[in-house]
Symmetry: C2
Subunit: 168 residues, 2 copies
DNA sequence: TCAACTCGGATATCTTGTGTCCGCGAATCT
DNA sequence: AGATTCGCGGACACAAGATATCCGAGTTGA
């Protein structure tokens, strides 16, 4: 295995959870919220959370304003942001499985011109990955916020935002 | 973040591809096939492939016979082995996403008794993971073998097994 | 009985995620 | 307008997990 290998390795970064929670909170925010406050609210590492928020900013999901009363804000309505977009912004859009084309290796290697179509294994993996992404793309952060309101009570989200602004 | 963390980290090991190819080959085998031969056939690291085959053996998908003419063999019909079982044998059945219960942390932590139901984020991730596994569980190695026969020709699989036995 | 061949687990190496730090830019206050 | 304060952005260590390997235990066949 002298090849650069790099088999398909799906890794779902842990920071995805934090990013999702932040987006839900931001969906009800009306003023920029600094990363420090978000980290304090969730009790997580401020620097590391900032890193993930940067990824979200780079993906165009949230907008950052600098300065004294700066912070983060959603770029568009929460109904127009899917969890898939957040996951892909953090973890990258690379598919879970990458075919190494083992059929073209070894003593009984298949000819290259006969491999225009992906092999069955790659297709199955691709279908599963597609199903996973489709499931994630069907849910928006607005849905998550609604879900939170109906389970934890409608007052939770406004209360969180009040704490972010005033600290009480 | 002094906690042991252990956020949900899904890692799709690269050896899954090798394991799948091996199972497809073994589906047409009639005699035990040693790991060395399988590694040589696919041109991959023999030791590393052996490790994965051990995982498959531990999961009860393939049976190992030691001794001079030993090797691996499927424990049951290829139609009764799904891709999902192979993936879970290699990568483990741990779900892609593990909720850290961030809602119970920080200054506005929710009470523990109000968290009997998983939060919306965990549910969405769980649904996506379930869709992924369902898609993988719908395909058997027999399906993969059939697919290979129809695309690469019906003679490929027998020829591979002849090479494994005789070397020609 | 003996020997060869097989699997199985314990062992190094290395990429990748996890976590942290300092510099740059922008808005506020004087 | 200038200095200051605050927050974002990218560059820097640390650790965990995957990748790759080797040697010992067990078994079959002669």
């Amino acid at each position: 295995m002298s090849e650069s290998s790099s088999i398909g390795v799906v890794k779902l970064s842990g920071g995805v959870e934090w990013a999702l929670h932040c987006c839900v909170v931001l969906s009800a925010a009306t003023e920029p919220t600094p990363a420090t406050k978000l980290a304090e609210l969730h009790d997580v590492s401020p620097s590391y959370l900032a890193k993930h928020l940067q990824s979200l900013s780079g993906a165009g999901l949230i907008h950052s304003t600098q300065g004294k009363s700066g912070g983060y804000l959603l770029t568009r309505s929460a109904a127009d942001i899917t969890v898939l977009q957040i996951v892909e912004a953090i973890d990258g859009a690379t598919p879970a499985f990458r075919c190494t084309e083992v059929r073209q290796r070894g003593p009984l290697a298949a000819s290259a011109e006969s491999c225009t179509i992906p092999c069955g294994i790659a297709r199955v993996m691709g279908d599963a990955d597609r199903a996973w992404r489709e499931s994630l793309g069907a849910v928006t952060v607005a849905d998550l916020a609604d879900e939170l309101s109906s389970t934890a009570g409608p007052a939770t989200l406004p209360r969180v935002n009040r704490w972010l602004q005033t600290g009480t």
